[in-house]
């Protein structure tokens, strides 16, 4: 049976808003600070507020407030007030170091915060601070505790890299047992933004990737699924093991695979860079779709050729790429994230080499045994 086409919503349900390009830290694998969207210009409050009125008319349900570091903006409370006034909920991505009790209590009082995600990458200062800078582990953990004390739903994101990969068991213990968090999510330093400059020192080697996959599988079983992977080794290992199992069973295909189907974001959300340019995703800042308050969101969403081309990407079959020629995984693969495909190959309409199972195996990478 052919896969059902993914339907585009009339207007985006969610938006990712990079409300600032500034940050008090310079983490070595940050996806910012060397991309097209990093213009150094922050949009003034009034421009955001009038855009929020448009989001209200478009019946947008929630926004993810991102940066840079969102808490660096002195007018963050006014920005949040604008979001609340225009009938939306919000979440925030933060490094956690600038959170105050006063701010946390304000956020709680809005009743609209779905969650705040704090980045914590180690079980000790020594490990966390390697890439994030001295003194920041304690500040981030403090920030996290302030949020929890104020009753705000929090989650932690652990970005895995060469300096913390062997600390994963301690990290899980620290976050899930010592801090007693309900869960945390993982990804890994990927070839995007600042990380491209430090790729060799930061990105996992194939052996480290294998170690991360096995360890995370074990830990996610030990902690009953409280560890999740939106990207990085934990999400890769489940996808890759499924692909390998399908190949071994000689399955004809896996549903939703065989084409560039790795990104569904463009069907229900859109991003805005800190300079006000709409973009398909904050990770694809090079595709400028139009300036907020100048171009209408609904027109960009429904009619912009670049956005519609990204949606059509879903129907590009993997067997049309030289890169995938004779690959035994074609019918089980999605080609993964277009943003990563772009930073590595210069093309969105290409499978991401970083998430290519065949390449990983050919270069000596291993998959964990089924029974890890």
């Amino acid at each position: 049976m052919p896969d059902k086409p993914v339907r585009v919503t009339k207007t985006p349900k969610s938006l990712e808003l990079a409300i600032t390009n500034r940050c008090n830290l310079r983490c070595t694998y940050c996806s910012h600070f060397s991309s097209e969207g990093d213009t150094g210009e922050d949009l003034p409050l009034e421009r955001w507020l009038s855009f929020f009125e448009e989001l209200n008319q478009c019946a947008v349900m929630d926004v993810s407030i991102q940066g840079g570091e969102p808490f660096i903006r002195q007018d963050l409370t006014e920005i949040i007030d604008g979001i609340v006034k225009n009938r939306m909920r919000f979440s925030i991505l933060t490094n956690g170091t600038l959170i105050t009790d006063e701010m946390a209590s304000f956020i709680k009082s809005t009743g609209r915060c779905d969650q705040i995600q704090v980045s914590i990458d180690g079980s000790t200062s020594e490990i966390h601070d390697t890439c994030r800078g001295k003194g920041n582990f304690l500040k981030s953990v403090d920030g996290l505790e302030i949020l929890r004390k104020n009753g705000i739903p929090v989650t932690v994101r652990v970005t895995i890299h060469r300096h913390n990969v062997f600390d994963l068991e301690n990290i899980a213990k620290f976050l899930l047992e010592d801090l007693n968090l309900p869960g945390f999510s993982t990804n890994s330093a990927s070839y995007i933004g600042l990380c491209r400059q430090y790729a060799k020192e930061i990105q996992l080697t194939h052996e480290e990737r294998y170690f991360a996959m096995t360890t995370l599988l074990k830990l996610s079983r030990k902690y009953n699924g409280r560890i999740t992977g939106d990207a990085g080794p934990l999400s890769e290992v489940s996808m890759w093991m499924e692909m390998e199992a399908a190949r071994k069973k000689r399955m004809k295909n896996l549903s939703g695979r065989g084409c560039l189907k790795g990104c569904r974001g463009v069907f229900n959300k859109i991003g805005v860079r800190s300079d006000g340019q709409m973009v398909p995703c904050i990770q694809m800042p090079h595709i400028a779709l139009g300036q907020i308050n100048h171009e209408r969101l609904i027109t960009v969403w429904q009619q912009h050729p670049a956005l519609n081309e990204l949606r059509r990407r879903m129907s590009i079959s993997l067997d049309t790429f030289d890169f995938c020629k004779n690959c035994p995984y074609i019918a089980y693969c999605t080609g993964n994230c277009p943003a990563l495909a772009y930073t590595i190959t210069g093309m969105e309409n290409h499978p991401s080499p970083d998430a290519c199972l065949r390449k990983y195996l050919e270069e000596g990478g291993k998959l964990p045994d089924d029974g890890v």
Partner: protein, 92 residues
């Protein structure tokens, strides 16, 4: 029966291309999926129509409206009111 229900103005009503819609209550974070008939009813919860008025309009719109449609409309409106998506205006 004489009451004229009215929507809660803080509810977000998202119409989609296929005439279905989503109601979203931002204060609670809850949402409801609406089929095209429910969308029709929602659009008439303007404080000007009773449930009976809505039924009459619905019958005009769709010829095959079932006999017990009034129960469905009352049930649906009741559910919306219970969840805070609609209510009745109080006049002092």
């Amino acid at each position: 029966m004489d009451n004229k229900p009215i929507i809660n103005r803080s509810i977000v009503f998202r119409e989609e291309f296929d005439e279905w819609a989503i109601l979203f209550y931002p204060d609670m974070g809850t949402s409801f999926g609406l089929n095209p008939v429910s969308v029709f009813i929602w659009k008439h919860l303007d404080g000007e129509h009773t449930v009976n008025d809505i039924l009459i309009k619905l019958r005009k719109q769709c010829e095959d409206t079932p006999d017990d449609a009034i129960n469905h409309i009352e049930g649906f409106v009741g559910k919306l009111i219970d969840h805070g998506f609609a209510g009745y205006e109080h006049h002092a």
